[in-house]
Every structure is written in structure tokens, then in C-alpha cells.
Symmetry: C2
Subunit: 259 residues, 2 copies
């Protein structure tokens, strides 16, 4: 019925299941599939879903349409959750039975730890009303996504995305593409600044007696951000070119004064 799926190579098969309880809109179901693919989760169960718009679902799933096909539709929450050791329900509403919530970031380490040895369900309610009290009774823990008091209810697929994003981030496997050029060291930067001083004098930006003072300002500008070795090479190229150009101009000055 529900074989282990590894739709996305490179992502370890996780024990995370997304359960949508009585979802209404095909577009949202498709968006949930895309969010799952973005965050490397592939086990989707639809509990008590009506006859949703499959064309809209596939449109919003974009390149994650295979997750719609691989999803499992069951009639009841009990069926969706039967083989899950822990159930985390997402709720934005307050109320007596909805107080013991924690944010997805707070829960993430617990969820990941549990998912290493068991199946963990993240349960999301229908678009109009969210999880009912009966649904909540099936949850072991509740997730509350931080949101504005003025409009706390997120779109279904947005709520799924935030939860899965927090799990993906907490997994710590992602590395942003790093700058390939290493940071320039002090020696390189000093050589660059010496060349700039020479060039700024040559082009007449400053007079020798003011150079020391003006260069403090120039140094401050270049110190505002981290400079890579590539950056320093570009800056030295600029100074060299300015020096060369001003020497050319100096040679030509009698005939062709700078305007």
C-alpha cells in the first residue's frame, strides 16, 4: 500500500509523514507536494479528502507531480496515523486544548530524533477551519507557527512549508554555495591601499600633505565589508590603470590638457 519511497535521491529516507486532514483545494495539495519536494520529504497521506481539482493540483505541484500520484488517500485520520509513533498537529487557533504549543523550530530537534527510529506524522487541518478538537485528540503534540496576531492563519501549503523548512534546516545538511575566492589577508589589502594612495595622488584626487588624512577615509570605506582576494585583485587593477592613464596624460599634457 505505502512502500518506502525515495523520490528524491540524495535525501535520506526520513520517517516524516505529512498528513492533510480533509483538504479542500487541489491547488493547495499540489503546493504541499512542491514544498515537500523542496524540503526532501515524500510521504503524503490525504485523510478524508473530497473530490479535489487534480488539474490545479498538478499545476501547483510543478515538478513534484509524482508526489501527488504517490500519495495515499484514506477515509479517516485513524487510518492515516495508525502506523505513526508520534503525531504533531499544527494549529493557529487558541483555546483550552490548544495551549501546550511550541514553535516548529522548538520542536524540530525532537521530531528529527523521533523520526530516526519511528514514523512521525505532521498533521494539518482543512483550509477553512483547521484541526477540530476531535482531530487534536489524536495529536501527541501541537505546533504553533509564529505569526501576526492580526492575521495568524497561514495558507495550508505555507504552513506545511514552514514546518518542513524548519526540519530541513535543523537537519543541518544544507550548505549554501560559498564564495570560491578566500578572504584577502592584511598584507594583500595593505599593498592594495598603497597602490590606491599612489593612484589617488597621481590623478590629483588629493595633495601629498593631505594624503595621510584622506587615506583614513578610503581605508574606512574598504573596511566596511569583507574583501576577497578576487576583490583586492580588481581594486589593484583599477588603481594600476588609473596610474597608467595619468602617466599617459602627464606625458601628453602640453599638447592635450585634461578637461
Amino acid at each position: 500500500m505505502n512502500p518506502v519511497r525515495q523520490a528524491y535521491p540524495g535525501v535520506p529516507q526520513s520517517g516524516i509523514r505529512v498528513v492533510l486532514c480533509r483538504p479542500i483545494y487541489g491547488g493547495n495539495i499540489g503546493s504541499v507536494c512542491r514544498a515537500m519536494a523542496n524540503m526532501g520529504v515524500s510521504d503524503l497521506v490525504l485523510a478524508g479528502a473530497g473530490d479535489f481539482d487534480r488539474v490545479e493540483a498538478r499545476k501547483m505541484a510543478c515538478w513534484a507531480g509524482d508526489l501527488i500520484e504517490a500519495s495515499r488517500a484514506v477515509a479517516t485520520l485513524d487510518e492515516a496515523l495508525a502506523d505513526c509513533a508520534l503525531v504533531f498537529g499544527a494549529t493557529a487557533r487558541g483555546g483550552l486544548y490548544r495551549q501546550h504549543t511550541r514553535s516548529p523550530r522548538d520542536w524540530a530537534p525532537d521530531i528529527l530524533a523521533a523520526a530516526r527510529s519511528a514514523r512521525v506524522a505532521l498533521l494539518f487541518g482543512p483550509e477553512d477551519d483547521g484541526l477540530s478538537n476531535d482531530d487534536l485528540a489524536r495529536c501527541h503534540h501541537l505546533i504553533r507557527i509564529p505569526s501576526s496576531a492580526a492575521y495568524p492563519a497561514l495558507n495550508l501549503a505555507q504552513a506545511v512549508m514552514i514546518c518542513l523548512y524548519e526540519l530541513y534546516t535543523a537537519g543541518g545538511t544544507f550548505e549554501a554555495p560559498a564564495e570560491k575566492s578566500p578572504l584577502a589577508d592584511s598584507g594583500q589589502k595593505e599593498r592594495m591601499l598603497a597602490l590606491w594612495e599612489e593612484a589617488l595622488l597621481a590623478i590629483g584626487f588629493m595633495q601629498p600633505d593631505k594624503a595621510r588624512h584622506m587615506m583614513l577615509g578610503v581605508r574606512r570605506i574598504f573596511a566596511r565589508g569583507a574583501l576577497s582576494e578576487d576583490d583586492v585583485r580588481i581594486l589593484m587593477g583599477i588603481a594600476r590603470q588609473a596610474l597608467w592613464q595619468s602617466r599617459q596624460a602627464a606625458g601628453k599634457r602640453p599638447a592635450d590638457p585634461p578637461r
Copy 2:
């Protein structure tokens, strides 16, 4: 043209502007509005947007339709960014000019700090291709949302949501509804356990010579999770009722043995 907007009371007017560059789909524009309202941001500029589906936009905006009406449409990115001190572009693609990225969580403190004294733009590209190299040239910094290598490109509104959610979370103003009942202290829990021991003996769950051993198991069960004072009161109520019921049964035993 673009007055200070405070659509969402309780949210401090932030210097965060969302700029959608050449967005295509009305549904995504509406979803962006809802995400902005969820995360307390209200300044939306559409740069070079075509003739998008406004019915679909209003449908997906849900209760944040006022943000569509309040959004500003301009022809070019330059107009959208002219009054912004810093521009952060979101990109999922790699490439020579896309290496110096950091995650939205890494950037969040810098963005919030800058937004206290200036306007900061978060720039998102069109649904089909994302930001072009020309668009990127207008960005001071690049954001890369952590995502699966198998399918790294998020839906436009999902990308906006993750970035704004990180800013909202980093703002530190949100407090999840906390459990009202404080945690039970050791003394309360020991009184509860004493009552349970008495009740478990009374109902014949264990014999006196095994009670010490059995109670270690019961203690372990109750120690697995944090117990509030309310929880302990409920558990003491159960034990008292069991005691009362077994005394009743003992009194009636000759006439009405327990089944």
C-alpha cells in the same frame, strides 16, 4: 504615491519592502499578500507585472486582499528600488555571480538592523526563471533559501513566506500561547504517586510484596513527560476514584463480587 502603511495594528511599521520582479500569476501575488499579512509586513511593490488575474489574486490573498489594493505597480526595478538603502535578492540558481549567498536566517539580524533606520527591499524574480543577472546587479546581497538539491526552486509565495517568517521570528516579538498550569513540583508528584500506590494495591493490580518493584515502572511512565499541576490533579482524582470504587466493592463483596 506610497504613503506609510500600517495595515496591521500591533505590528511596528517596518522598513521592509517586498518587491516582486515581473510576477506572472495572480494566485502567487495574492499568496504573497497573505504571507506578508501573516508576518506583519505591508509594503508591496510589483515591478513590471503583466496583466495578472486579479480574481485569482484576491482568492489566494484571503483576508489580506487590502494588501493587493495597497500595492504599488511600477514599470521598472529601478523605480521599485530607488528609495531603498539595501536590496536583498533571492536566488536558487548557482553561477558565477550567485556564489556569495547566505541563508535568510543568517541575513535576518542584518536586515532587521538596517530596516530600523532605512528601507530594505527583498527582491524576488519571476516564477519561470527567477532573477536575471541584470536584476542581480541591483542587489547588494543575495539570499539562498536552504532546499533540496533535487528540487531547489520554491514557489514564489513560498520563498517570500520563508524570508518574512525568518524576519518575523528573528524579531523576537512572538510568544507561543503557554500552558497556563505551572509544572507540578516533586512534592505534588510524590503525593500523587503515594495515592496511586494505594489505589493500585486496592484494585488488586499488584501485591504488597511486589509494590516497590511495580511502582518503579509506574514512576518511570509518569517521568517520561513534564506533568503540570492540572495533570497531577487529574491523576490524583483517578486514584481517589479507584480507591473509593474498590472500597465500595469491598463492602458489597459478599453480595456482588467484582467481575
